[in-house]
């Protein structure tokens, strides 16, 4: 797809956003401003949650995955390398913004020069008496600073809380062009993912998280990306230490899978809500 068409799409998206009239001052009783203790962040490790972002509020996230597999070399090497901290890393910066109630858009840029634009639209919430939270997500990755290899994705996030223990997540999502080769050279160049994740509240502000994102059909190189971690909420911050068998944090990267089930990488996420 040409760069020009993508710019056209982004411009159209921006126009649609601008068309939304500025709302009156945020009502202080907006329930989206309230902390949801069982779903306190916008992602599990890499996969999104159905958490709503209040209108005209925003959130920022840093993702960091160290490039040294924890199993490389002996334990002494690992300690000398401070568990991978001395090695290179894949770093991502993300900013998301609530453009209207129940709707957020965002941008995520990783240090391999991939840019992901995404939008999430809330359809239902447990707090309204529904059985699950349900949100629709759409995104588009582009490599080389959004110039090449566009990978759009479309799916839903379903989550269900089991108070006071935690929340489970299910994320069916279709990623197009997950294999960047032309269709003539591949059997499949899209992937259908079925992410499953959980966040368990072990202390009032401490959680255990885990997710696995299998490719159930389509292109599936490498291994299905899986991650687990521990996190601590501190006010509007969330600090997460995680372990993953892949470095992917965008939908296209996740669809391309992890490196190997023998290679696990240390990483962390830090997020900050501005509300």
């Amino acid at each position: 797809m040409s760069h020009r068409r993508v710019l056209l799409f982004v411009t159209a998206l921006a126009v649609a956003v601008c068309w939304l009239q500025p709302a009156p001052a945020q009502a202080q009783d907006d329930p989206d401003l309230d902390l949801v203790p069982l779903q306190p962040d916008f992602t599990v490790v890499a996969m999104p949650t159905a958490l709503r972002l209040p209108r005209y509020k925003s959130s920022f996230r840093v993702t960091h995955r160290f490039g040294r597999p924890l199993g490389a070399g002996d334990f002494g090497d690992l300690v000398e390398d401070l568990f991978g901290l001395d090695s290179g890393a894949q770093i991502g910066l993300e900013y998301r913004f609530g453009i209207m109630r129940g709707t957020q858009i965002g941008i995520h840029r990783t240090s391999d020069r991939t840019i992901e634009l995404f939008a999430q639209y809330d359809l239902m919430q447990e707090r309204d008496g529904r059985f699950v939270n349900l949100a629709v997500i759409g995104s588009m990755d582009g490599t080389n600073n959004f110039r090449d290899s566009y990978s759009p994705a479309l799916g839903v996030v379903v989550s269900r809380s089991f108070a006071p223990v935690g929340t489970v997540f299910l994320q069916p999502i279709w990623v197009n062009n997950s294999n960047p080769l032309p269709s003539e050279l591949t059997d499949d160049n899209d992937s259908f993912l079925l992410g499953v994740g959980t966040r368990i509240r072990v202390r009032p502000t401490v959680y255990l998280v885990g997710e696995i994102i299998p490719r159930v059909t389509g292109d599936d190189p490498g291994v299905n990306q899986a991650s687990f971690g521990i996190e601590k909420r501190a006010g509007g911050h969330m600090f997460q230490l995680n372990f993953s068998n892949g470095l992917g944090t965008t939908m296209g990267q996740i669809a391309r899978g992890g490196a190997s089930n023998d290679d696990w990488f240390l990483g962390f996420n830090i997020s900050r809500k501005f509300f």
């Binding site: 797809m1 068409r5 993508v6 799409f9 159209a12 998206l13 649609a16 068309w19 939304l20 209207m100 109630r101 129940g102 709707t103 939008a119 639209y121 629709v136 759409g138 588009m140 290899s149 566009y150 990978s151 759009p152 479309l154 197009n176 062009n177 960047p180 080769l181 032309p182 269709s183 003539e184 050279l185 160049n189």
Partner: protein
């Protein structure tokens, strides 16, 4: 209130539909990958026309400059002229490297033709094609794909 709800759904639906529409156009074009042979396809007839028979604009020599029986014996006994290339390649043992097969249908990694084109360690003789200009990675990918598809005589 209801109007606002409707408007939200219409906008969100429009954005999602736009994403769906755009996705259909996201595939990379094969011609962007095949450099000096933009019409190259993973079929034997296309490979014959664009690679075996033609010296391309990059200066890469046609294979049939040497691998032909027109007025000479084909180098390594491999005749790549149109009509006989398939029988010279597919399932045929290499005359240079004992045990190697030129093209193993469905298995490009074990096809000696690919080893020669990529200049892998262990090949006998020089990397092909001779001369200063080699096949591009994209051109080799297309040949690999033809082999992956079973190396049909298409």
């Amino acid at each position: 209130m209801k109007e606002s709800w409707m408007r939200r759904h219409v906008i969100a639906g429009g954005v999602l539909l736009a994403l769906c529409g755009m996705s259909a156009a996201c595939d990379e074009k094969l011609s962007d990958l095949t450099g000096p042979t933009p019409n190259l396809q993973p079929t034997l007839s296309s490979i014959q026309r664009e690679i075996f028979d033609t010296t391309d604009s990059s200066g890469r020599q046609a294979c049939t400059n040497c691998h032909t029986d027109a007025g000479r014996n084909p180098v390594a006994g491999m005749n790549l002229r149109s009509g006989v290339a398939h029988t010279s390649l597919v399932g045929v043992a290499s005359s240079g490297k004992p045990g190697a097969v030129r093209v193993v249908p469905g298995d490009p990694e074990n096809s000696y033709l690919i080893h020669k084109l990529e200049g892998r360690a262990g090949i006998v003789g020089t990397r092909m094609p001779r001369g200063n200009t080699l096949l591009t990675e994209g051109q080799i990918r297309v040949i690999k794909r033809w082999i992956e598809l079973g190396a049909p005589n298409d």
